[in-house]
């Protein structure tokens, strides 16, 4: 074969284009990667969410006894209520029977997975899932790998929990937070099972479902329309909407030009002083630069008395302190006003990463007593784009956070600096702002 024949043979090898280049598959892969990217960016958020979640769980357990007793006689409702008792709003929605029975079963090599019930409002889609496998018990995790609004074909990406699922017919709840209620949904649930020692994933399979989420309950709306000042931030609280599973608080930032809010915490009390819902400070949904919605668990959709909304705390950062530079010669983090005092113990280290490559990283410690909700930094790459910046490890020791940044040429500019966007707070203030909201 001469060189020309060889060239033609090589071109022929490429005549059959792989199936994975089907445009729908490309879309899936791309969107999945985007989701991973976003999750990567909020690793810190997720870990702190778990801490917040544990705190809420305690509140939920302490206050849910009455409900647990009320529904004890109704086996399925009781069972469902029990597994979502970590969230008052969702638990109350179960008790009030807002759920829609789905009963769809899909069988595969790892057994049969069933979406038994779902509940949805503008904040969350909750799926009650169970699995069987002919008496064989396999245990793993279940994850909403892909969720599509089948009315618009929009592939949704959002935050969700990854609960454990065993093939023992017991329910587990997947809470998928979305941006608005959607009526018709297709969901790919990825079931990953553990090996015998429960130490690693031994197999996985994806189960696909299509369903209508059921009736949408319109929220109860209260107008607050008042201004407040806390931690250098100025806020206007507009409407408070009580949905079946959560309560949404509309917050306008009045001095967003000067100050960025990194966290706000709310709680709701009923007229007996019972705090049935703590705020999820992390779950803010930004609408534009100066408006956002904060969410607290609800539990008040059917409640008729007055409510008290409490603004517990806020964390902020001045806009002109947002840009931070890390000089790789001096290993100093500086902003417009000089050295960033909160960061210390900066060291350059050589480490082996997960791909077994030797890389350099900058380790540093950060005083972490003002904030509990944001990431540390975003990195701006040399094109000015905020790039998939994820500090590669976190460990909390009291109010100190140890973190590091893996060095990558893409981030280092001609002055041997990395330009970062600061995300951790400068100001933190606890407040005791009480807002009465009445029917």
């Amino acid at each position: 074969m001469n060189r020309m024949d060889e060239l033609n043979a090589l071109m022929n090898e490429m005549v059959d284009i792989p199936e994975s280049l089907d445009i729908n598959k490309i879309k899936k892969v791309t969107k999945k990667k985007v989701l991973k990217h976003r999750i990567g960016q909020t690793t810190k958020g997720v870990s702190l969410f778990i801490i917040a979640f544990m705190a809420v769980l305690t509140v939920g357990v302490n206050t849910s006894t009455v409900f647990a007793k009320t529904v004890k006689e109704i086996p399925v409702i009781s069972e469902l209520a029990k597994i979502v008792s970590f969230n008052k709003g969702i638990e109350d929605a179960v008790v009030a029977e807002y759920g829609t029975p789905i009963g769809q079963k899909v069988s595969g090599k790892l057994g049969t997975v069933e979406i038994a019930y779902v509940m949805a409002d503008d904040r969350s889609l909750v799926m009650f899932v169970k699995a069987y496998n002919d008496g064989k018990k396999t245990q793993g995790t279940i994850e909403p790998y892909e969720v599509i609004d089948t009315d618009t074909n929009e592939v949704l990406s959002s935050s969700y929990n990854i609960p454990e699922l065993a093939t023992d017919g017991k329910y587990t709840a997947i809470v998928y937070n979305w941006d608005k209620y959607r009526e018709n949904i297709s969901v790919d649930l990825k079931y990953e099972i553990y090996d015998d020692d429960n130490t690693s994933i031994s197999d996985s399979e994806t189960y696909s479902f299509n369903f209508n989420v059921g009736e949408k309950f319109e929220p109860k709306v209260y107008n607050v329309d008042k201004d407040y000042e806390i931690a250098n931030g100025k806020y206007h609280i507009g409407k408070v909407k009580v949905f079946p599973m959560s309560t949404e608080i509309e917050v306008h930032f009045l001095n967003a030009d000067e100050v960025e809010t990194t966290d706000m915490l709310f709680e709701l009390k009923d007229s007996f002083g019972l705090v049935r819902s703590k705020g999820e400070g992390l779950s803010a949904k930004y609408v534009n630069d100066d408006t956002y919605f904060a969410y607290v668990e609800s539990g008040y959709f059917k409640y008729q008395g007055d409510l008290e909304l409490k603004l517990v705390s806020a964390s902020t950062i001045s806009k002109d302190r947002k840009e931070v530079r890390l000089n790789l010669d001096t290993l100093e983090f500086t902003d417009k006003y000089g050295k960033v005092d909160e960061i210390y113990n900066v060291k350059k280290e050589k480490v082996t990463n997960s791909e077994n490559e030797e890389v350099s990283e900058i380790d540093f410690s950060l005083k972490w007593d003002k904030d509990a909700s944001s990431s540390v930094f975003w990195i701006k790459d040399n094109d000015g784009e905020y790039y998939a910046m994820t500090p590669v490890s976190f460990s909390n020791e009291g109010d100190i956070l140890n973190s590091c940044i893996e060095l990558n040429d893409q981030y280092i500019n001609s002055n041997n600096e990395i330009v970062l966007e600061r995300l951790f707070a400068e100001n933190y203030e606890e407040a005791n702002i009480k807002i009465k909201i009445s029917n």
Binding site: R3, M4, M11, E13, I26, V29, T30, V34, D383
Partner: protein
């Protein structure tokens, strides 16, 4: 650029992207990985692209950079040695063409790949790589000579 426009443009150029990535590794799965990664990176930054007509150029550049970076890593991992520019043909004449292409020094490999697998002209390659057309023509001659491919521009 919205998702619909973005993916409709991807549909038109995906085969070309695949054919450009393939000769770097002579592997279908690695070529697909490169194409997926290039599309993903373009998708993340799609709002930066002000003129949609440059999308192809832009994506090809992203892909070429990815292929170069990944190939360099792959080369280290597998111990592949490039054909030195000063090597005599006798030293590598037994190498199958597809291996010879992937082992060409970077600047020669990219012009061959772009021309014979991407289907671009010398002028288009010059624009894509932001290199003068004369330089591309010189590199092309040298590359063809190294591969003993006797073709006319």
């Amino acid at each position: 650029m919205n998702d619909e426009i973005f993916f409709s443009r991807i549909e038109k150029i995906k085969v070309k992207l695949y054919k450009i990535a393939y000769p770097y590794f002579n592997s279908e799965s690695m070529a697909v990985d490169m194409v997926d990664e290039a599309i993903y990176q373009a998708y993340l930054k799609r709002r930066q692209l002000k003129q949609e007509e440059y999308m192809e150029t832009w994506l090809i550049r992203i892909l070429m950079n990815l292929c170069k970076t990944r190939y360099n890593k792959y080369k280290k991992q597998t111990g592949i040695e490039e054909i030195p520019e000063e090597a005599t043909y006798a030293e590598y004449e037994n190498l199958p063409l597809k291996e010879a292409i992937s082992k060409l020094p970077q600047q020669y490999k990219e012009v061959i790949v772009m021309k014979y697998f991407g289907g671009y002209t010398i002028a288009e390659i010059g624009k894509l790589l932001d290199i003068p057309q004369g330089t591309i023509a010189t590199r092309m001659r040298k590359a063809l000579e190294m591969l003993r491919l006797d073709m006319e521009e």
